[in-house]
């Protein structure tokens, strides 16, 4: 009937579940998230002018920037909300490491953005005239890169918890950290386009992501403890 189960994996999964319930309750949510990225991309295309040669130049970049801009703000928002409504106080009365909780938070955000993205990929590919041979590489790098972006976004969002006008500060803190991911990610895709060797960039992308995967939850947990102590 009732049991006390504080295994980390249990906690991990239940937090994932909560995040999904909050953000992903219906098909509408799925559609909304796709549309968000979609519209950022359209904004660019229209800004640049819808010419094929131009799109070829900027296609990869647009997808990446769209990805960054659709993960980070929403991640920030949930963290801020859970901070204000006292959920983090409750977390602090749990004997389960906050690190696990935060890892689960970034993973859930990664999935929340990536699942719709994978659905929408065919559309992007058509809109941006991406060659078929580049598609698997695009999906691969975006999947890896978006994990890193979620992890960095988590750090940034926890840096500004409780700060005065933190929302203005956030981009200044996050973008410098995201830049390597962007450069290596786009690097792989451009290499494919130019028929060059993408491996070195890919390895760097993976390396950065792994580093963040290890350190980011610790950093965020530290920062959230500081925020609760205010």
């Amino acid at each position: 009937m009732t049991s006390s189960n504080s295994s980390w994996s249990f906690v991990f999964v239940t937090h994932l579940k909560r995040d999904f319930l909050i953000n992903f309750r219906s098909l509408i949510d799925l559609v909304s998230i796709i549309s968000f990225m979609f519209l950022i991309i359209i904004l660019f295309i229209l800004g640049v002018g819808p010419f094929k040669e131009k799109l070829e130049i900027i296609g990869n970049a647009i997808i990446w920037v769209g990805l960054i801009l659709s993960i980070i703000p929403s991640l920030e928002k949930t963290l801020q909300k859970d901070f204000e409504n006292g959920w983090f106080d409750q977390l602090a009365t749990s004997s389960i490491p906050l690190e696990i909780v935060l890892l689960s938070r970034s993973i859930s955000y990664w999935l929340i953005v990536m699942i719709p993205f994978l659905f929408a990929a065919p559309l992007f590919i058509i809109l941006l005239n991406i060659e078929l041979k580049a598609v698997p590489w695009l999906l691969l790098t975006m999947t890896i890169g978006s994990l890193a972006i979620s992890l960095i976004g988590l750090n940034g969002a926890s840096l500004i918890l409780g700060a005065k006008r933190g929302n203005i500060l956030l981009p200044i803190l996050i973008i410098p950290l995201v830049i390597p991911i962007l450069i290596f990610g786009v690097g792989v895709n451009e290499a494919i386009k130019m028929e060059a060797d993408p491996i070195s960039n890919l390895l760097l992308l993976v390396a950065f992501t792994l580093i963040y995967l290890v350190i980011s939850p610790f950093i965020s947990a530290l920062l959230i403890r500081i925020a609760i102590a205010r």
């Binding site: 840096l159 409780g162 700060a163 933190g166 200044i172 973008i175 390597p180 350190i215 950093i219």
Partner: protein, 250 residues
């Protein structure tokens, strides 16, 4: 080893001892660094050869290169001092980081500006989006982020902690600045001084460059010390106010 380190730190961390030591260092630091910078400027501007390609424009180097070097070095020091703050929680470490940050930020601006000024005659443009230039710009934003974040909280300690974390994470930018010229083919000059196989630069250029580098370093050390001392005084004032509050309170 670790114990000895923490011993040294503890010894220095005493504000009074710190004041005494730095009071002695202050004047020599200021005078030596001024002399070195003046000498360096003289040699650099009047008594060194033109570059066979760059002409007189090369003289910007004597400001540009030391600034660039210091901007990076100061960030490293900042991060290290932040580690000390987070691990040993000593307030002096925080004061030191707070003092380093604006100076480092100024040096990174100086690098960017002198680089741009140099770029116009050499590359025909103020700015290119090359890896080294960009990573220097990003370094500036790390400094800026540190400064803004450490002031973004109602309570100074909260800001210090958050900002320290940022500075430590920001270290990943340093190797990118350093090695960007080797990793990517860019417009920017590859290293010619700090190289494995020794400097590959004219001796007459090396002298003023060295003078400027050491001069700049000592001068920033001087600035940092002054800064820390001001902040120590500010803290004393705050403590007094706190005491007054306490009296009012009771």
């Amino acid at each position: 080893m670790l114990e000895r380190h923490s011993f040294v730190i503890n010894w220095l961390a005493n504000p009074n001892r710190f004041s005494k030591l730095t009071n002695k260092l202050q004047i020599p630091l200021l005078s030596i660094s001024t002399i070195m910078i003046l000498l360096g400027l003289y040699y650099g501007l009047f008594d060194s050869p033109k570059d066979y390609q760059q002409g007189d424009a090369v003289r910007i180097m004597y400001v540009h290169v030391p600034s660039a070097w210091l901007a990076s070095f100061l960030f490293l020091s900042l991060a290290i001092s932040c580690v000390f703050y987070l691990v040993w929680k000593h307030p002096l470490a925080d004061l030191i980081s707070n003092s380093i940050a604006p100076i480092g930020a100024v040096f990174s601006i100086l690098t960017l500006v002198t680089g741009s000024l140099w770029g116009k005659p050499m590359w025909g443009t103020w700015w290119v989006w090359d890896a080294r230039l960009t990573s220097m710009l990003i370094l500036f934003f790390f400094y800026l982020g540190y400064i803004l974040l450490s002031n973004a909280f109602e309570r100074k300690i909260d800001g210090s902690k958050s900002a320290s974390v940022l500075a430590i994470v920001g270290i990943i930018n340093l190797p990118i600045i350093k090695f960007s010229v080797d990793w990517w083919h860019t417009l920017h000059q590859p290293s010619s001084i700090l190289r494995m196989d020794g400097p590959s630069i004219d001796k007459e250029m090396l002298l003023p460059l060295t003078l400027m580098m050491v001069g700049f370093s000592l001068f920033s050390l001087f600035l940092i010390i002054i800064n820390v001392k001001t902040k120590l005084l500010e803290k004393k004032c705050e403590a007094l106010i706190l005491k007054l509050n306490l009296k009012e309170f009771s």
